[in-house]
C-alpha cells in the first residue's frame, strides 16, 4: 500500500488528498510540477482546462485480455470496444496511445487480430509493451514480436521522443526466475543506461512496462526484481512518471522524483492486495463491473514538466 507524507504544517498533502479521491473511484486528474504531483482538480477547472488546451495528451490502455471469457467478464472483447468508443469520443484527441500489455489472454493469432482490429480501428498510433499473456504462443513471444517488435530491441523494448518528453518502453515479463517477480535483465538495463545518456536531466521521462516497477505486493508477484537498477538510472531526472498495468486496478505512489501509477484493465478487475485467496480475476455483482474497468489519459503541459493523469471508468 502507498504511504504519503502530509506537509510540514500538518495539512493533508495534495498527493494524499489525491490518493483518497482515487480510492473513491472517481476519475481523477493530476499533474506533476517539478516532480511533485498536484491535482488539477484542486487547481480548479480553468487551470485544468488550460493545461489540457496547451499540452498534448496520450492515452494509456492496459490488460485488454482479448480471449478472456470467464465469469469475471464473459465479454472482454465488448468492454475493449466500449473503452475504444469512449476514447474516440474524447473532446481532445490523444496524440497517441500506449498499451501496457496483456493485449491478449493466450497469445492466439485470432486474439491478436481481434485486438488489433478494435484498438487499431480508432486510428491512433499505439505503442505497445507485452504482458506475460502476450508471450505464451508456441514460439515463446514470436507472435507478439512479429506484430509489434519492429524497431524494438531484445524482447521488445524501445524509446521515443514526443513533444519534449522522452518515453521508454520496457519489457519485464521474460526470463522470469523461480521465486522471483518481474524481470528486466542485464541486457535491457545496459540498453537503458545507454539510451538515457543523451537525455538532459530537465527532460520529463515517461517509463511504461507491464508489471509494476515498484513492490506493490510481492506476495502476489506484483513487483519487478531489478526495478531498483532501472530507477537508479532515472535518479538524475527532475520528472519521472512510471505507468504500469498488470494488477487491474489503480495504485499510485510518489517516491522522490518518481511518480508510479497503474491503470485499470478493460477486461476484468483483480482484488486489492491481500484481500482474496489469490490475485485471480474478481467477479463482482452485475452492474459494478464497468465501474472497475477503464483507461487513463495523460496530459503533458507544454513548456513545463507537468503531466496530468485522468483515470476514467467505463461506467
Amino acid at each position: 500500500m502507498t504511504h504519503h507524507h502530509d506537509d510540514e504544517n500538518g495539512h493533508i498533502s495534495r498527493r494524499h488528498a489525491l490518493e483518497c479521491m482515487i480510492w473513491a473511484g472517481t476519475g481523477v486528474l493530476w499533474t506533476i510540477s517539478g516532480g511533485i504531483p498536484v491535482s488539477l482538480n484542486l487547481l480548479g477547472a480553468a487551470q485544468a482546462a488550460e493545461a489540457m488546451a496547451t499540452g498534448f495528451t496520450f492515452l494509456q490502455i492496459s490488460d485488454s485480455h482479448i480471449g478472456f471469457d470467464k465469469a469475471a467478464n464473459p465479454h472482454a472483447i465488448d468492454t475493449l470496444k466500449e473503452a475504444m468508443g469512449k476514447i474516440q469520443a474524447l473532446p481532445q484527441k490523444p496524440a497517441f496511445m500506449i498499451h501496457t500489455g496483456d493485449i491478449t489472454h493466450l497469445s492466439k493469432p485470432a486474439q491478436f487480430d481481434n485486438a488489433a482490429e478494435i484498438i487499431g480501428g480508432a486510428g491512433f498510433d499505439v505503442h505497445y509493451v507485452p504482458g506475460e499473456h502476450d508471450l505464451i504462443d508456441d514460439g515463446n513471444g514470436k507472435a507478439y514480436l512479429d506484430r509489434y517488435g519492429k524497431g524494438t530491441r531484445g524482447a521488445g523494448w524501445y524509446s521515443f521522443d514526443q513533444n519534449g518528453v522522452h518515453f521508454v518502453a520496457l519489457v519485464n515479463v521474460v526470463n522470469l526466475k523461480a521465486g522471483g517477480l518481474g524481470n528486466l535483465g542485464p541486457e535491457q538495463l545496459a540498453w537503458l543506461a545507454d539510451d538515457l545518456k543523451a537525455v538532459s536531466a530537465s527532460t520529463p521521462i515517461v517509463v511504461f512496462a507491464h508489471i509494476p516497477l515498484w513492490a506493490v505486493y510481492p506476495e502476489w508477484g506484483w513487483g519487478t526484481d531489478d526495478a531498483a537498477q532501472a530507477l537508479g538510472l532515472l535518479k538524475r531526472f527532475g520528472s519521472v512518471t512510471v505507468l504500469n498495468g498488470h494488477i487491474h486496478q489503480i495504485m499510485q505512489k510518489v517516491e522522490g522524483n518518481v511518480t508510479f501509477h497503474t491503470a485499470r484493465s478493460t477486461a476484468f478487475p483483480q482484488p486489492a492486495p491481500g484481500t482474496a485467496a489469490s490475485p485471480g480475476p474478481m467477479t463482482v455483482p452485475a452492474g459494478q463491473l464497468r465501474g472497475l474497468l477503464g483507461t487513463s489519459s495523460v496530459t503533458v503541459k507544454q513548456g513545463g514538466q507537468d503531466l496530468a493523469i485522468i483515470d476514467s471508468t467505463l461506467a
Partner: protein, 114 residues
C-alpha cells in the same frame, strides 16, 4: 484393462519385466493417479512424492493461464488455460523443483524416490 492390481511390495519387482505391457495400459495413470492441481495461484500439493516412472498430471483450475517449468529446465508445459492438463513422466530419482513461468512466485516440487 489388461492391468492387474498387485500389492505395492510386488509391483517394484515385477514392474521391470512388464515395462512394455504396462506402458500400454498405463497402470500409474488411473483415476487416483498423482495430480498437482493449480488453483488460487498455488500448486497443490506443493510437494508431491512419487516413484520413478510415475506420470504426474498438472491441471489448471484457475481462470488465468499458468505454465509449469522445471527449475533445471528438464520439463516445461505449454500455457495451460482453465481446465488444461500437462503430463510429465518422472523417470529419474531426485528432487525436481518447478515454478509457474508466468507467475514465478508460484513454486512446487516433485520428489521422485524408489
Amino acid at each position: 484393462m489388461l492391468c492387474i492390481r498387485l500389492p505395492a511390495r510386488h509391483m517394484a519387482a515385477i514392474l521391470a519385466a512388464f515395462t512394455l505391457t504396462t506402458a500400454n495400459c498405463q497402470p500409474l495413470r488411473a483415476a487416483d493417479a498423482p495430480m498437482v492441481k493449480i488453483e488460487n495461484f498455488a500448486f497443490t500439493p506443493p510437494v508431491l512424492t512419487v516413484k520413478p516412472g510415475t506420470t504426474v498430471t498438472f491441471r489448471n483450475d484457475d481462470d488465468i493461464p499458468h505454465l509449469v517449468v522445471a527449475s533445471d529446465s528438464s520439463f516445461r508445459s505449454k500455457a495451460l488455460d482453465t481446465g488444461d492438463t500437462y503430463e510429465f513422466t518422472f523417470t529419474k530419482a531426485g528432487d525436481f523443483a518447478y515454478f509457474c513461468g508466468l507467475h514465478p512466485h508460484m513454486q512446487g516440487k516433485i520428489t521422485v524416490a524408489p
